[in-house]
Symmetry: C2
Subunit: 269 residues, 2 copies
Protein backbone atom coordinates (compact mmCIF):
# COMPACT_ATOMS: atom_id res chain seq x y z
CA UNK A 1 0.00 0.00 0.00
CA UNK A 2 1.19 3.47 -0.72
CA UNK A 3 -0.26 5.18 2.32
CA UNK A 4 0.25 5.00 6.08
CA UNK A 5 -2.17 4.59 8.99
CA UNK A 6 -1.20 8.09 10.03
CA UNK A 7 -2.20 9.44 6.64
CA UNK A 8 -5.55 7.64 6.87
CA UNK A 9 -6.18 9.06 10.35
CA UNK A 10 -5.57 12.58 9.01
CA UNK A 11 -7.88 11.92 6.07
CA UNK A 12 -10.60 10.61 8.43
CA UNK A 13 -10.37 13.83 10.45
CA UNK A 14 -10.56 15.79 7.21
CA UNK A 15 -13.60 13.77 6.04
CA UNK A 16 -15.28 14.62 9.35
CA UNK A 17 -14.57 18.31 8.80
CA UNK A 18 -16.19 18.00 5.36
CA UNK A 19 -19.31 16.48 6.94
CA UNK A 20 -19.38 19.29 9.52
CA UNK A 21 -19.16 21.90 6.75
CA UNK A 22 -21.94 20.22 4.76
CA UNK A 23 -24.11 20.08 7.89
CA UNK A 24 -23.83 23.87 8.26
CA UNK A 25 -25.39 24.16 4.78
CA UNK A 26 -27.99 21.38 4.98
CA UNK A 27 -29.42 21.34 8.51
CA UNK A 28 -30.54 25.02 8.61
CA UNK A 29 -32.45 24.37 5.36
CA UNK A 30 -34.19 21.22 6.69
CA UNK A 31 -37.89 21.76 7.51
CA UNK A 32 -37.40 25.37 6.56
CA UNK A 33 -39.38 25.85 3.36
CA UNK A 34 -36.57 24.78 1.00
CA UNK A 35 -37.14 25.73 -2.63
CA UNK A 36 -37.52 22.49 -4.55
CA UNK A 37 -36.52 22.18 -8.18
CA UNK A 38 -37.31 19.16 -10.29
CA UNK A 39 -34.14 17.90 -11.94
CA UNK A 40 -35.44 15.71 -14.68
CA UNK A 41 -38.36 14.44 -16.67
CA UNK A 42 -41.60 12.66 -15.86
CA UNK A 43 -40.55 11.35 -12.43
CA UNK A 44 -40.21 13.87 -9.59
CA UNK A 45 -36.49 14.13 -8.82
CA UNK A 46 -36.01 17.03 -6.46
CA UNK A 47 -32.90 19.07 -5.83
CA UNK A 48 -32.60 21.89 -3.30
CA UNK A 49 -30.08 24.52 -2.24
CA UNK A 50 -29.05 22.09 0.49
CA UNK A 51 -27.80 19.66 -2.17
CA UNK A 52 -25.99 22.33 -4.15
CA UNK A 53 -24.50 24.38 -1.31
CA UNK A 54 -23.56 21.23 0.63
CA UNK A 55 -21.51 19.95 -2.30
CA UNK A 56 -20.06 23.37 -3.12
CA UNK A 57 -18.58 23.81 0.35
CA UNK A 58 -17.13 20.27 0.39
CA UNK A 59 -15.52 20.67 -3.05
CA UNK A 60 -14.00 24.00 -2.00
CA UNK A 61 -12.42 22.49 1.14
CA UNK A 62 -11.00 19.51 -0.78
CA UNK A 63 -9.60 21.80 -3.46
CA UNK A 64 -7.83 23.89 -0.80
CA UNK A 65 -6.44 21.05 1.30
CA UNK A 66 -5.78 18.40 -1.36
CA UNK A 67 -5.64 20.07 -4.78
CA UNK A 68 -4.33 16.85 -6.39
CA UNK A 69 -7.31 14.73 -5.29
CA UNK A 70 -10.07 13.86 -7.74
CA UNK A 71 -13.76 14.47 -6.95
CA UNK A 72 -17.01 12.90 -8.14
CA UNK A 73 -20.14 14.60 -6.79
CA UNK A 74 -23.84 14.13 -7.45
CA UNK A 75 -24.53 17.76 -8.30
CA UNK A 76 -21.35 19.03 -9.99
CA UNK A 77 -19.88 15.91 -11.59
CA UNK A 78 -16.23 14.98 -12.06
CA UNK A 79 -13.06 16.88 -11.19
CA UNK A 80 -10.04 14.92 -12.44
CA UNK A 81 -7.16 14.59 -9.95
CA UNK A 82 -3.42 14.15 -10.37
CA UNK A 83 -3.09 11.72 -7.42
CA UNK A 84 -4.54 8.21 -6.79
CA UNK A 85 -7.03 9.63 -4.24
CA UNK A 86 -10.63 10.40 -5.23
CA UNK A 87 -13.54 11.73 -3.15
CA UNK A 88 -17.06 10.52 -3.94
CA UNK A 89 -19.77 12.88 -2.63
CA UNK A 90 -23.51 12.94 -2.17
CA UNK A 91 -24.28 16.04 -0.10
CA UNK A 92 -27.95 15.08 0.43
CA UNK A 93 -28.73 11.44 -0.26
CA UNK A 94 -32.49 11.11 0.08
CA UNK A 95 -33.62 14.50 -1.18
CA UNK A 96 -37.20 13.15 -1.33
CA UNK A 97 -37.00 12.48 2.44
CA UNK A 98 -35.44 15.93 2.95
CA UNK A 99 -38.34 17.70 1.23
CA UNK A 100 -40.85 15.66 3.30
CA UNK A 101 -39.25 16.61 6.62
CA UNK A 102 -38.06 13.04 7.24
CA UNK A 103 -34.70 12.71 8.99
CA UNK A 104 -33.39 9.76 6.97
CA UNK A 105 -31.53 11.87 4.40
CA UNK A 106 -27.77 11.74 4.85
CA UNK A 107 -24.53 13.24 3.64
CA UNK A 108 -22.32 10.58 2.04
CA UNK A 109 -18.56 11.01 1.74
CA UNK A 110 -16.24 8.31 0.44
CA UNK A 111 -12.51 8.33 -0.25
CA UNK A 112 -11.06 5.90 -2.76
CA UNK A 113 -7.41 5.06 -3.43
CA UNK A 114 -6.85 3.69 -6.91
CA UNK A 115 -10.64 3.22 -7.06
CA UNK A 116 -10.74 1.03 -3.91
CA UNK A 117 -12.91 2.41 -1.08
CA UNK A 118 -10.75 3.36 1.93
CA UNK A 119 -12.99 5.67 3.99
CA UNK A 120 -16.80 5.76 4.15
CA UNK A 121 -18.82 8.34 6.10
CA UNK A 122 -22.60 8.61 6.57
CA UNK A 123 -23.84 11.69 8.43
CA UNK A 124 -27.40 12.48 9.58
CA UNK A 125 -27.32 16.04 10.92
CA UNK A 126 -30.84 16.16 12.46
CA UNK A 127 -30.39 13.10 14.69
CA UNK A 128 -26.71 13.92 15.12
CA UNK A 129 -25.68 10.44 13.99
CA UNK A 130 -22.47 9.71 12.12
CA UNK A 131 -21.02 6.44 10.81
CA UNK A 132 -17.30 6.44 10.01
CA UNK A 133 -15.64 3.45 8.36
CA UNK A 134 -11.85 3.25 8.07
CA UNK A 135 -8.98 0.99 9.11
CA UNK A 136 -11.17 -2.11 9.25
CA UNK A 137 -13.67 -0.62 11.70
CA UNK A 138 -17.05 1.13 11.46
CA UNK A 139 -17.88 3.50 14.32
CA UNK A 140 -21.36 4.96 14.98
CA UNK A 141 -21.38 8.16 16.98
CA UNK A 142 -24.07 10.37 18.50
CA UNK A 143 -22.43 13.31 20.22
CA UNK A 144 -19.76 11.69 22.39
CA UNK A 145 -21.40 8.27 22.51
CA UNK A 146 -19.44 5.88 20.27
CA UNK A 147 -20.31 2.35 19.30
CA UNK A 148 -18.32 -0.13 17.21
CA UNK A 149 -20.74 -1.42 14.58
CA UNK A 150 -21.42 -5.14 14.17
CA UNK A 151 -24.02 -6.49 11.80
CA UNK A 152 -26.55 -8.97 13.20
CA UNK A 153 -26.16 -12.75 13.14
CA UNK A 154 -29.32 -13.30 11.10
CA UNK A 155 -28.76 -16.04 8.51
CA UNK A 156 -32.27 -16.92 7.31
CA UNK A 157 -34.60 -14.85 5.15
CA UNK A 158 -37.52 -15.78 7.41
CA UNK A 159 -35.78 -13.98 10.30
CA UNK A 160 -34.65 -10.96 8.29
CA UNK A 161 -35.62 -7.33 8.80
CA UNK A 162 -35.48 -6.03 5.23
CA UNK A 163 -35.53 -2.61 3.62
CA UNK A 164 -35.64 -0.82 0.29
CA UNK A 165 -36.35 2.82 -0.45
CA UNK A 166 -39.46 2.22 -2.59
CA UNK A 167 -40.92 -1.28 -3.14
CA UNK A 168 -43.13 -0.18 -6.04
CA UNK A 169 -42.39 -0.15 -9.75
CA UNK A 170 -41.19 3.41 -9.53
CA UNK A 171 -38.34 5.81 -10.05
CA UNK A 172 -36.04 3.04 -8.80
CA UNK A 173 -37.41 -0.44 -9.55
CA UNK A 174 -38.40 -1.82 -12.94
CA UNK A 175 -41.44 -4.09 -12.94
CA UNK A 176 -39.29 -7.24 -12.73
CA UNK A 177 -37.13 -5.75 -9.96
CA UNK A 178 -40.28 -4.88 -7.97
CA UNK A 179 -41.44 -8.50 -8.41
CA UNK A 180 -38.06 -9.83 -7.30
CA UNK A 181 -38.11 -7.59 -4.22
CA UNK A 182 -41.63 -8.77 -3.42
CA UNK A 183 -40.50 -12.40 -3.75
CA UNK A 184 -37.77 -11.78 -1.17
CA UNK A 185 -39.68 -9.46 1.15
CA UNK A 186 -42.72 -11.73 1.52
CA UNK A 187 -40.33 -14.34 2.94
CA UNK A 188 -38.79 -11.85 5.37
CA UNK A 189 -39.90 -11.10 8.91
CA UNK A 190 -40.65 -7.41 8.48
CA UNK A 191 -39.98 -4.70 5.88
CA UNK A 192 -39.44 -0.94 6.29
CA UNK A 193 -39.15 1.58 3.46
CA UNK A 194 -38.04 5.09 2.43
CA UNK A 195 -34.70 5.24 4.22
CA UNK A 196 -32.16 5.66 1.41
CA UNK A 197 -28.56 5.31 2.68
CA UNK A 198 -29.66 5.54 6.32
CA UNK A 199 -30.84 1.92 5.99
CA UNK A 200 -27.24 0.78 5.45
CA UNK A 201 -26.25 2.55 8.66
CA UNK A 202 -28.95 0.59 10.51
CA UNK A 203 -27.66 -2.60 8.86
CA UNK A 204 -24.15 -1.86 10.16
CA UNK A 205 -25.65 -1.31 13.65
CA UNK A 206 -27.31 -4.75 13.57
CA UNK A 207 -30.83 -3.22 13.49
CA UNK A 208 -31.72 -4.23 9.91
CA UNK A 209 -30.50 -7.45 8.27
CA UNK A 210 -30.92 -6.98 4.52
CA UNK A 211 -31.15 -4.00 2.14
CA UNK A 212 -31.98 -4.45 -1.54
CA UNK A 213 -31.92 -1.60 -4.05
CA UNK A 214 -31.35 -0.74 -7.69
CA UNK A 215 -30.75 2.54 -9.55
CA UNK A 216 -27.89 3.46 -7.21
CA UNK A 217 -25.05 5.49 -8.65
CA UNK A 218 -21.41 5.58 -7.61
CA UNK A 219 -22.04 8.53 -5.27
CA UNK A 220 -24.95 6.59 -3.67
CA UNK A 221 -23.03 3.43 -2.76
CA UNK A 222 -19.30 4.32 -2.52
CA UNK A 223 -19.50 5.35 1.16
CA UNK A 224 -21.70 2.38 2.09
CA UNK A 225 -19.24 -0.33 1.07
CA UNK A 226 -16.67 0.20 3.85
CA UNK A 227 -19.44 1.01 6.38
CA UNK A 228 -21.02 -2.42 5.77
CA UNK A 229 -17.89 -4.51 5.17
CA UNK A 230 -16.04 -3.15 8.22
CA UNK A 231 -19.09 -4.02 10.36
CA UNK A 232 -19.02 -7.64 9.19
CA UNK A 233 -21.61 -7.45 6.41
CA UNK A 234 -21.51 -8.39 2.75
CA UNK A 235 -22.31 -6.04 -0.14
CA UNK A 236 -22.55 -6.97 -3.83
CA UNK A 237 -24.90 -6.47 -6.77
CA UNK A 238 -28.01 -8.68 -7.18
CA UNK A 239 -25.94 -11.45 -8.82
CA UNK A 240 -23.22 -11.55 -6.18
CA UNK A 241 -20.69 -9.53 -8.21
CA UNK A 242 -19.07 -6.30 -6.95
CA UNK A 243 -21.25 -3.15 -6.83
CA UNK A 244 -20.90 -1.10 -9.99
CA UNK A 245 -20.38 -4.08 -12.32
CA UNK A 246 -23.94 -4.05 -13.71
CA UNK A 247 -25.86 -1.35 -15.55
CA UNK A 248 -28.78 -1.21 -13.05
CA UNK A 249 -27.00 0.08 -9.94
CA UNK A 250 -27.95 -3.04 -7.98
CA UNK A 251 -27.08 -3.45 -4.30
CA UNK A 252 -27.60 -6.37 -1.92
CA UNK A 253 -26.28 -5.60 1.55
CA UNK A 254 -26.61 -8.39 4.09
CA UNK A 255 -25.69 -8.93 7.73
CA UNK A 256 -24.10 -12.36 7.12
CA UNK A 257 -22.74 -14.32 4.16
CA UNK A 258 -25.49 -16.94 4.64
CA UNK A 259 -28.26 -14.32 4.44
CA UNK A 260 -26.51 -12.74 1.45
CA UNK A 261 -26.46 -16.08 -0.39
CA UNK A 262 -30.14 -16.68 0.41
CA UNK A 263 -31.07 -13.20 -0.87
CA UNK A 264 -29.11 -13.55 -4.13
CA UNK A 265 -30.77 -16.93 -4.72
CA UNK A 266 -34.26 -15.58 -4.00
CA UNK A 267 -33.70 -12.53 -6.24
CA UNK A 268 -32.80 -14.84 -9.13
CA UNK A 269 -36.26 -16.42 -8.72
Amino acid sequence: MSYSDKEISELVRFAESLADAAKAETLPRFRNGAEIEDKTGPVFDPVTDADREGERVIRKLIGEAYPGHGIIGEEFGLTEGSEPWRWILDPVDGTRAFVCGVSTWTTLIALEHLEAPIIGLIDQPFTGERWIAANGETVHRIGNVKKICRTSNVKMLSEARISTTDPRESAYFTKSEASAFERVSTQARVARFSMDAYAYGLLALGELDLVLETSLKHHDYAALIPVIENAGGVVTNWRGAPPGTDDRGEIVAAATKELHAAAVKALAG
Copy 2:
Protein backbone atom coordinates in the same frame (compact mmCIF):
# COMPACT_ATOMS: atom_id res chain seq x y z
CA MET B 1 -68.17 22.66 28.83
CA SER B 2 -67.61 21.17 32.22
CA TYR B 3 -63.94 21.94 32.53
CA SER B 4 -61.77 25.04 32.78
CA ASP B 5 -58.69 26.19 30.86
CA LYS B 6 -56.77 25.86 34.13
CA GLU B 7 -57.83 22.23 34.43
CA ILE B 8 -56.71 21.58 30.83
CA SER B 9 -53.34 23.21 31.50
CA GLU B 10 -52.83 20.91 34.49
CA LEU B 11 -53.86 17.90 32.43
CA VAL B 12 -51.41 18.89 29.65
CA ARG B 13 -48.59 19.03 32.20
CA PHE B 14 -49.70 15.65 33.50
CA ALA B 15 -49.82 14.20 29.94
CA GLU B 16 -46.23 15.42 29.46
CA SER B 17 -45.17 13.69 32.67
CA LEU B 18 -46.75 10.49 31.32
CA ALA B 19 -44.72 10.81 28.11
CA ASP B 20 -41.55 11.40 30.16
CA ALA B 21 -42.25 8.27 32.24
CA ALA B 22 -42.90 6.18 29.10
CA LYS B 23 -39.67 7.49 27.55
CA ALA B 24 -37.71 6.17 30.54
CA GLU B 25 -39.06 2.69 29.69
CA THR B 26 -38.86 2.82 25.88
CA LEU B 27 -35.70 4.74 24.91
CA PRO B 28 -33.20 2.59 26.87
CA ARG B 29 -34.65 -0.47 25.08
CA PHE B 30 -34.35 1.10 21.59
CA ARG B 31 -31.51 -0.37 19.50
CA ASN B 32 -30.64 -2.49 22.49
CA GLY B 33 -31.47 -6.05 21.50
CA ALA B 34 -35.12 -5.94 22.58
CA GLU B 35 -36.77 -9.33 22.88
CA ILE B 36 -39.47 -9.45 20.22
CA GLU B 37 -42.61 -11.49 20.64
CA ASP B 38 -45.10 -12.07 17.88
CA LYS B 39 -48.59 -11.16 19.07
CA THR B 40 -50.79 -12.84 16.56
CA GLY B 41 -51.15 -15.18 13.65
CA PRO B 42 -49.70 -15.36 10.15
CA VAL B 43 -48.63 -11.70 9.91
CA PHE B 44 -45.66 -10.57 12.01
CA ASP B 45 -47.06 -8.27 14.72
CA PRO B 46 -44.30 -7.61 17.19
CA VAL B 47 -44.57 -6.54 20.81
CA THR B 48 -41.64 -5.82 23.11
CA ASP B 49 -41.02 -4.99 26.76
CA ALA B 50 -40.94 -1.34 25.67
CA ASP B 51 -44.62 -1.57 24.69
CA ARG B 52 -45.63 -3.36 27.88
CA GLU B 53 -43.52 -1.46 30.42
CA GLY B 54 -44.28 1.88 28.73
CA GLU B 55 -48.01 1.31 29.12
CA ARG B 56 -47.67 -0.14 32.62
CA VAL B 57 -45.93 2.96 34.00
CA ILE B 58 -48.47 5.31 32.34
CA ARG B 59 -51.46 3.39 33.71
CA LYS B 60 -49.95 3.40 37.19
CA LEU B 61 -49.45 7.19 37.16
CA ILE B 62 -52.99 7.83 35.90
CA GLY B 63 -54.44 5.49 38.52
CA GLU B 64 -52.60 7.37 41.28
CA ALA B 65 -53.36 10.92 40.10
CA TYR B 66 -56.82 10.47 38.58
CA PRO B 67 -58.38 7.24 39.89
CA GLY B 68 -61.76 8.16 38.39
CA HIS B 69 -60.43 8.47 34.82
CA GLY B 70 -60.99 5.70 32.29
CA ILE B 71 -58.13 4.19 30.26
CA ILE B 72 -57.91 2.43 26.91
CA GLY B 73 -54.44 1.10 26.07
CA GLU B 74 -53.08 -1.01 23.23
CA GLU B 75 -51.49 -3.64 25.45
CA PHE B 76 -53.73 -3.87 28.52
CA GLY B 77 -57.15 -2.92 27.21
CA LEU B 78 -59.95 -1.03 28.94
CA THR B 79 -60.18 0.30 32.50
CA GLU B 80 -63.65 1.77 33.06
CA GLY B 81 -63.71 5.16 34.77
CA SER B 82 -66.28 6.90 36.95
CA GLU B 83 -65.67 10.35 35.41
CA PRO B 84 -66.18 11.71 31.84
CA TRP B 85 -62.39 11.72 31.23
CA ARG B 86 -60.70 8.87 29.38
CA TRP B 87 -57.04 8.37 28.40
CA ILE B 88 -56.24 6.59 25.14
CA LEU B 89 -52.70 5.15 25.08
CA ASP B 90 -50.30 3.61 22.60
CA PRO B 91 -46.94 3.33 24.39
CA VAL B 92 -45.05 2.36 21.21
CA ASP B 93 -46.88 3.13 17.99
CA GLY B 94 -44.75 1.66 15.22
CA THR B 95 -43.29 -1.38 16.96
CA ARG B 96 -42.09 -2.64 13.55
CA ALA B 97 -40.00 0.54 13.21
CA PHE B 98 -38.81 0.13 16.82
CA VAL B 99 -37.49 -3.39 16.17
CA CYS B 100 -35.74 -2.17 12.98
CA GLY B 101 -33.91 0.65 14.78
CA VAL B 102 -35.91 3.33 12.94
CA SER B 103 -36.74 6.42 14.97
CA THR B 104 -40.28 6.93 13.66
CA TRP B 105 -41.98 4.99 16.47
CA THR B 106 -43.82 7.25 18.90
CA THR B 107 -45.67 7.26 22.18
CA LEU B 108 -49.28 8.39 21.69
CA ILE B 109 -51.34 9.84 24.54
CA ALA B 110 -54.83 11.26 24.10
CA LEU B 111 -57.32 12.57 26.61
CA GLU B 112 -61.02 12.53 25.77
CA HIS B 113 -63.89 14.22 27.59
CA LEU B 114 -67.24 12.54 26.93
CA GLU B 115 -65.47 10.79 24.03
CA ALA B 116 -64.38 14.06 22.36
CA PRO B 117 -60.59 14.47 21.96
CA ILE B 118 -59.29 17.33 24.15
CA ILE B 119 -55.53 16.69 24.36
CA GLY B 120 -53.27 14.88 21.87
CA LEU B 121 -49.59 14.15 22.41
CA ILE B 122 -47.05 12.51 20.07
CA ASP B 123 -43.60 11.85 21.53
CA GLN B 124 -40.47 10.59 19.72
CA PRO B 125 -37.85 9.98 22.42
CA PHE B 126 -34.82 9.34 20.15
CA THR B 127 -35.09 12.60 18.20
CA GLY B 128 -36.41 14.38 21.29
CA GLU B 129 -39.47 15.63 19.39
CA ARG B 130 -42.85 16.16 21.01
CA TRP B 131 -46.13 17.41 19.56
CA ILE B 132 -48.73 18.65 22.07
CA ALA B 133 -52.23 19.63 20.95
CA ALA B 134 -54.59 21.37 23.35
CA ASN B 135 -56.59 24.59 23.63
CA GLY B 136 -56.83 25.02 19.86
CA GLU B 137 -53.08 24.93 19.29
CA THR B 138 -50.51 22.28 18.30
CA VAL B 139 -46.97 22.91 19.51
CA HIS B 140 -43.89 21.01 18.26
CA ARG B 141 -40.95 21.01 20.64
CA ILE B 142 -37.35 19.79 20.47
CA GLY B 143 -35.62 20.56 23.76
CA ASN B 144 -36.45 24.21 24.39
CA VAL B 145 -37.16 25.04 20.73
CA LYS B 146 -40.91 25.46 20.26
CA LYS B 147 -42.83 25.91 17.06
CA ILE B 148 -46.56 26.48 16.56
CA CYS B 149 -47.63 23.93 13.96
CA ARG B 150 -49.37 25.00 10.74
CA THR B 151 -50.21 22.57 7.97
CA SER B 152 -49.10 23.48 4.44
CA ASN B 153 -51.24 25.36 1.90
CA VAL B 154 -51.14 22.53 -0.65
CA LYS B 155 -54.53 22.16 -2.31
CA MET B 156 -53.86 19.92 -5.33
CA LEU B 157 -52.99 16.22 -5.39
CA SER B 158 -50.32 16.87 -8.02
CA GLU B 159 -48.45 19.05 -5.49
CA ALA B 160 -48.94 16.75 -2.51
CA ARG B 161 -46.27 14.97 -0.48
CA ILE B 162 -48.11 11.83 0.55
CA SER B 163 -47.47 9.04 3.04
CA THR B 164 -48.77 5.71 4.27
CA THR B 165 -47.08 3.15 6.49
CA ASP B 166 -47.11 0.30 3.93
CA PRO B 167 -48.39 0.76 0.35
CA ARG B 168 -48.57 -2.99 -0.33
CA GLU B 169 -51.46 -5.36 0.15
CA SER B 170 -50.24 -6.23 3.61
CA ALA B 171 -50.97 -6.31 7.29
CA TYR B 172 -52.75 -2.97 6.79
CA PHE B 173 -54.23 -2.62 3.29
CA THR B 174 -56.65 -4.98 1.59
CA LYS B 175 -56.10 -5.44 -2.15
CA SER B 176 -58.70 -2.79 -3.03
CA GLU B 177 -57.29 -0.35 -0.45
CA ALA B 178 -53.79 -0.84 -1.92
CA SER B 179 -55.24 -0.09 -5.38
CA ALA B 180 -57.01 3.03 -4.08
CA PHE B 181 -53.81 4.24 -2.43
CA GLU B 182 -51.90 3.64 -5.66
CA ARG B 183 -54.54 5.61 -7.60
CA VAL B 184 -54.00 8.59 -5.28
CA SER B 185 -50.23 8.29 -4.84
CA THR B 186 -49.45 8.10 -8.55
CA GLN B 187 -51.09 11.53 -8.88
CA ALA B 188 -49.07 12.94 -5.98
CA ARG B 189 -45.71 14.67 -6.15
CA VAL B 190 -43.76 12.29 -3.92
CA ALA B 191 -44.53 9.46 -1.47
CA ARG B 192 -42.70 8.31 1.66
CA PHE B 193 -43.52 5.21 3.70
CA SER B 194 -43.09 3.39 7.04
CA MET B 195 -43.64 6.31 9.41
CA ASP B 196 -46.72 5.29 11.42
CA ALA B 197 -48.02 8.18 13.58
CA TYR B 198 -44.85 10.23 13.05
CA ALA B 199 -46.21 11.05 9.57
CA TYR B 200 -49.12 12.96 11.15
CA GLY B 201 -46.63 15.01 13.15
CA LEU B 202 -44.87 15.94 9.89
CA LEU B 203 -48.27 16.82 8.39
CA ALA B 204 -48.96 19.18 11.32
CA LEU B 205 -45.51 20.76 10.73
CA GLY B 206 -46.35 21.44 7.06
CA GLU B 207 -43.73 18.95 5.82
CA LEU B 208 -46.15 16.33 4.47
CA ASP B 209 -49.51 17.19 2.89
CA LEU B 210 -51.56 13.98 2.92
CA VAL B 211 -51.56 10.76 4.96
CA LEU B 212 -53.80 7.82 4.04
CA GLU B 213 -54.13 4.70 6.16
CA THR B 214 -56.46 1.90 7.17
CA SER B 215 -56.43 -0.67 9.98
CA LEU B 216 -55.97 2.04 12.60
CA LYS B 217 -57.49 1.44 16.01
CA HIS B 218 -58.77 3.97 18.54
CA HIS B 219 -55.37 4.07 20.30
CA ASP B 220 -53.66 4.69 16.92
CA TYR B 221 -55.66 7.76 15.88
CA ALA B 222 -57.10 9.37 19.05
CA ALA B 223 -54.01 11.53 19.70
CA LEU B 224 -53.65 12.49 16.04
CA ILE B 225 -57.01 14.18 15.68
CA PRO B 226 -56.30 17.26 17.82
CA VAL B 227 -52.67 17.40 16.57
CA ILE B 228 -53.90 17.73 12.97
CA GLU B 229 -57.05 19.79 13.52
CA ASN B 230 -55.35 22.34 15.80
CA ALA B 231 -52.68 22.82 13.12
CA GLY B 232 -55.29 23.65 10.47
CA GLY B 233 -55.63 20.22 8.85
CA VAL B 234 -58.61 17.99 8.19
CA VAL B 235 -58.97 14.39 9.38
CA THR B 236 -61.77 11.97 8.50
CA ASN B 237 -62.21 8.41 7.28
CA TRP B 238 -61.87 7.57 3.55
CA ARG B 239 -65.49 8.64 2.87
CA GLY B 240 -65.26 11.98 4.65
CA ALA B 241 -67.01 10.79 7.83
CA PRO B 242 -65.46 11.07 11.32
CA PRO B 243 -62.62 8.64 12.19
CA GLY B 244 -63.93 5.53 13.92
CA THR B 245 -67.25 5.43 12.04
CA ASP B 246 -66.21 2.63 9.66
CA ASP B 247 -65.06 -0.92 10.35
CA ARG B 248 -61.69 -0.56 8.51
CA GLY B 249 -59.95 2.02 10.69
CA GLU B 250 -59.66 4.42 7.75
CA ILE B 251 -57.85 7.75 8.07
CA VAL B 252 -57.41 10.59 5.56
CA ALA B 253 -55.43 13.46 7.04
CA ALA B 254 -54.91 16.45 4.78
CA ALA B 255 -53.23 19.85 5.01
CA THR B 256 -56.22 21.75 3.54
CA LYS B 257 -59.92 21.14 2.99
CA GLU B 258 -59.39 21.31 -0.78
CA LEU B 259 -56.70 18.59 -0.73
CA HIS B 260 -58.90 16.54 1.61
CA ALA B 261 -61.81 16.72 -0.83
CA ALA B 262 -59.54 15.76 -3.76
CA ALA B 263 -58.18 12.78 -1.82
CA VAL B 264 -61.62 11.50 -0.77
CA LYS B 265 -62.78 11.78 -4.40
CA ALA B 266 -59.69 9.96 -5.76
CA LEU B 267 -60.00 7.20 -3.13
CA ALA B 268 -63.59 6.56 -4.24
CA GLY B 269 -62.20 5.86 -7.73
